[in-house]
Amino acid sequence: MAIREDVLVVGGGIAGATAALAAAETGAQVRLLSHKKSTLRQASGLIDVLGAVGDNGTEVEPSGLVADPFEAVERLPNSHPYRVVGAAGIRDGLRVFDEAVGDAYAGTHTDRNALVLTHGGTVKPTARYPESVAPGLASAAEKTLLVGFAGLTDFDAPVAASHLDAAGVPFEVDGATVPFPVEFRDDALTTRLAKALDTDESGARRGLTDAVADHLDGHERVGFPAMLGDDDRREVRAELEDRLGAAVFEIPTGPPSLLGLRLEDLLFDALDEAGVRLSSGNPAVGYEAADGRIESVLVDRRGREVPYAADEFVLATGGLVGKGIDSDRESVSEPVFDCHVPHPEDRYDWSEPAAFGAHEFARFGVVPDGDLRPTDGSGDADFENLRAAGGVLGGADTAREKSAAGVSIATGAYAGRRAGESVTGREAEEATR
């Protein structure tokens, strides 16, 4: 068998990327295998660690916003992945993340959640956010102008401003819609708008500031949807600030999200830097095992199953969205290793009738042991050398708790480090023998 590594991580989202980075830190040779482009391209680019916890620990109330996620971990149910890795695990995950993205992200100065403005006009608690988002935090009481672009239906600045106002933010906020300075077709891509600002196509930067100037009435900061340049984004923002004489910040958008694309680039550059091998384009579809250990993962390369061998494996294929968890009418399953995924017999119990109720399916996922190894129905680890991380783990309602990326990096870092140590520790042992 020719394709062989110390650690093979399956899944190229934020959990897989973090796991691969953490495993590489231990000196192990790591490969990251991903079927599709990462779901990071759709994500907002924010790293939510824990934004909401219910008081009694079992129910999550959207109203119970969390100020300090580390302290709130204790209040989560025992089955929550954070209870396996603990506050120390979250810190380690954030460390791996912070080192990978460097000064492109802010939020490292405090344990407490930052409140970020969203494109829907709400305020969201998050732990790490792109530096371009930083000047727009809700905690700064500065008179704020939100600017949207005509034709870009995703972000309606006046509506967002009135929502924020109604939510009682501690500052005055207004919204304005201006035409984008370069003419594009109606459904123009956000990437093309960003590129136009990057290259200053037809004087786009000046055109934009001229259009905004009319609405600038003592506003101390101006927020735009996150499409202010791509490669030269710092330069773009600096020039806009200079021309407007106000701070300029970005507001995270829905998919396709430039902040998500940038985060994907940052993480994949870090993986490359760390010497992690990357394979994408083909799915893992099965495995070969002996004596309770996985020997290889089978990758479907257009009809031919090719074994990818390793000593340790990390499953980071995501939840229902990432396709790490599969569901059909009858059952819910984990398709690569066929790990046990508990779910109610009756399909009608999967979801609550109320749209935002505590959906059972939101918590669907594999059940880890104390070392993040997926377990069978009776609580024993399925395989000695398989750990799971991120959305594929059950027990967290990440959308309601606002903890998705946090759970992914905390469990990713834990699973990756443990996998790497198992190999390098074993190698060290063999060397001394």
């Binding site: 482009k37 391209r41 759709q42 590129k195 998919p255 994408s280």
Partner: protein
């Protein structure tokens, strides 16, 4: 002569000699149900409009008039369900790079939809007497021109790049005069192969190598080489490198009868031409696969066609078996042999390369292998020039009206090539190589050539 070699496997076949096709009407297969026509509309339902495909499309990034893959694929199919509307002509601006496939989180079969739409557009809406149609057909049937040219390579090299002739080609045919036509080799790969002794010589070389490697002399190590047109007519050094590298690992090689893989035909919506070529290729490779051969290709678009586009678009006997047993050359060695170990022990003269991964390598998941492998090769620095598309996409960048878009798309790559330490380029795709050379003036090598230098 054993049964492993039938005489025709080393024979050169005239490109315009047509096989009798059992069914001249194009009849694409269905992927989603047992219906006999290709109905991709259910695939359109999987689209949840996240637009991630649009953000990966290299054409949409630079061409504001191109509505992008989401429109070309799911939206167009949805519209078609409502009434029998026409296919939007923007489909001809899609370069068939297939990047959107890889991006879609919901597995919408985008490039398959584009291929089908393009086929329908060309069949039903394009004027068969138009310059565009004729030009596309000539470009798509590169092998026919190349076959003629190879008979008189020196004259062809002169004539093809002769100023007034190029001016006329641009004016009358819409073939850009900005590009230099690739040179035709004085001796084609097949001529060389025949002169060298064909499959018999290869078997002997392979047996000697197995003996040297301490493997069983009779080991079943057999590959059928799909060299494609370009390495036959233009870059036989790539094909020769493949032969020598594979033989050194103990593989005996046959070079069966073959046509164009069909890639340029898919991209130009000439599905009937592509199917005729596919029939010849499948029939000659299916026999060999049945006899235990694996198919290997040195061009990533050729392996892509055999692995994915054939079974997606055509219904030919043996097509699935061929698809399942087709590999890109390096990929094959990595799966079967300890290539990494051998590379780690080898060394070559100091050299630095600027590597570009072709889109079609990306789609097969082999876009990182050259970088990974050569990282460990003593004397060599290989730098990835980033994940942008080279912009040429086969015949696309040859069209006068697409030239500018093509160069715009390639801009990022040229820039990164200049920034890289090396001043030799590296890629698996012959048309990407053309574009790299055109944009930078660098000499371009195929990974197999470096492998040959390291191991043979």
């Amino acid at each position: 002569m054993s049964d492993a070699e039938s005489p025709q496997t080393t024979e050169s076949i005239e490109p315009n000699e047509q096989r009798a096709s059992p069914d001249p009407d194009f009849e694409p297969v269905s992927v989603f149900d047992d219906d006999s026509t290709m109905d991709l509309r259910p695939g359109a339902d999987n689209c949840y409009k996240c637009s991630v495909c649009d953000t990966t499309c290299p054409v949409a990034e630079v061409d504001d008039d191109f509505p992008g893959p989401k429109f070309q694929g799911p939206e167009q199919w949805r519209l078609k369900r409502k009434d029998e509307g026409e296919i939007d002509d923007s489909i001809m601006s899609c370069s068939n790079c297939m990047r959107c496939d890889d991006a879609c989180p919901s597995s919408v079969p985008l490039s398959q939809m584009h291929n089908a739409a393009r086929g329908e557009y060309v069949d039903e809406q394009m004027d068969k007497l138009s310059v565009e149609y004729v030009r596309n057909r000539v470009l798509a049937n590169y092998r026919t021109s190349a076959w003629f040219a190879s008979k008189v390579p020196r004259l062809a090299n002169f004539a093809m790049n002769f100023g007034p002739a190029r001016w006329l080609m641009e004016k009358a045919m819409g073939v850009t005069s900005e590009r230099e036509f690739p040179a035709f080799a004085a001796q084609t790969f097949r001529e060389w192969w025949r002169e060298r002794g064909g499959a018999d010589a290869s078997r002997e070389n392979a047996r000697a190598a197995r003996e040297r490697r301490g493997e069983a002399v009779d080991a079943e190590k057999k590959v059928a080489y799909f060299h494609g047109c370009y390495s036959n007519y233009n870059t036989p050094e790539v094909a020769k490198a493949l032969v020598r590298v594979f033989e050194s690992f103990g593989y005996e090689i046959v070079a069966p009868e073959q046509r164009c893989s069909g890639t340029p035909m898919f991209a130009n919506g000439m599905l009937a031409d592509a199917e005729r070529a596919a029939e010849v290729n499948v029939s000659s490779f299916a026999d060999l696969v049945e006899r235990g051969y694996d198919a290997v290709a040195s061009c990533t678009s050729c392996s892509m066609a055999l692995k994915q586009e054939y079974p997606e678009l055509f219904d030919i006997d043996g097509i699935d078996e061929v698809a399942e047993n087709t590999f890109e050359a390096l990929e094959y060695l990595r799966i079967q042999e300890d290539l990494e170990g051998q590379i780690a022990e080898a060394s070559v003269e100091e050299q630095a390369f600027a590597y570009h991964a072709p889109c079609h390598a990306r789609n097969q998941g082999v876009d990182r292998q050259a970088i990974e492998l050569f990282r460990d090769l003593d004397g060599v620095v290989v730098e990835d020039v980033g994940d942008s598309c080279s912009g040429i996409s086969g015949t696309y960048g040859w069209k006068e009206e697409k030239y500018e878009t093509s160069m715009k798309i390639g801009g990022d790559m040229f820039e990164h090539m200049h920034d890289a330490a090396g001043d030799v380029g590296m890629t698996e795709c012959p048309t990407c190589a053309m574009q790299m050379e055109h944009g930078t003036g660098y000499e371009i090598k195929h990974p197999l050539q470096l492998l040959e230098e390291a191991l043979c």
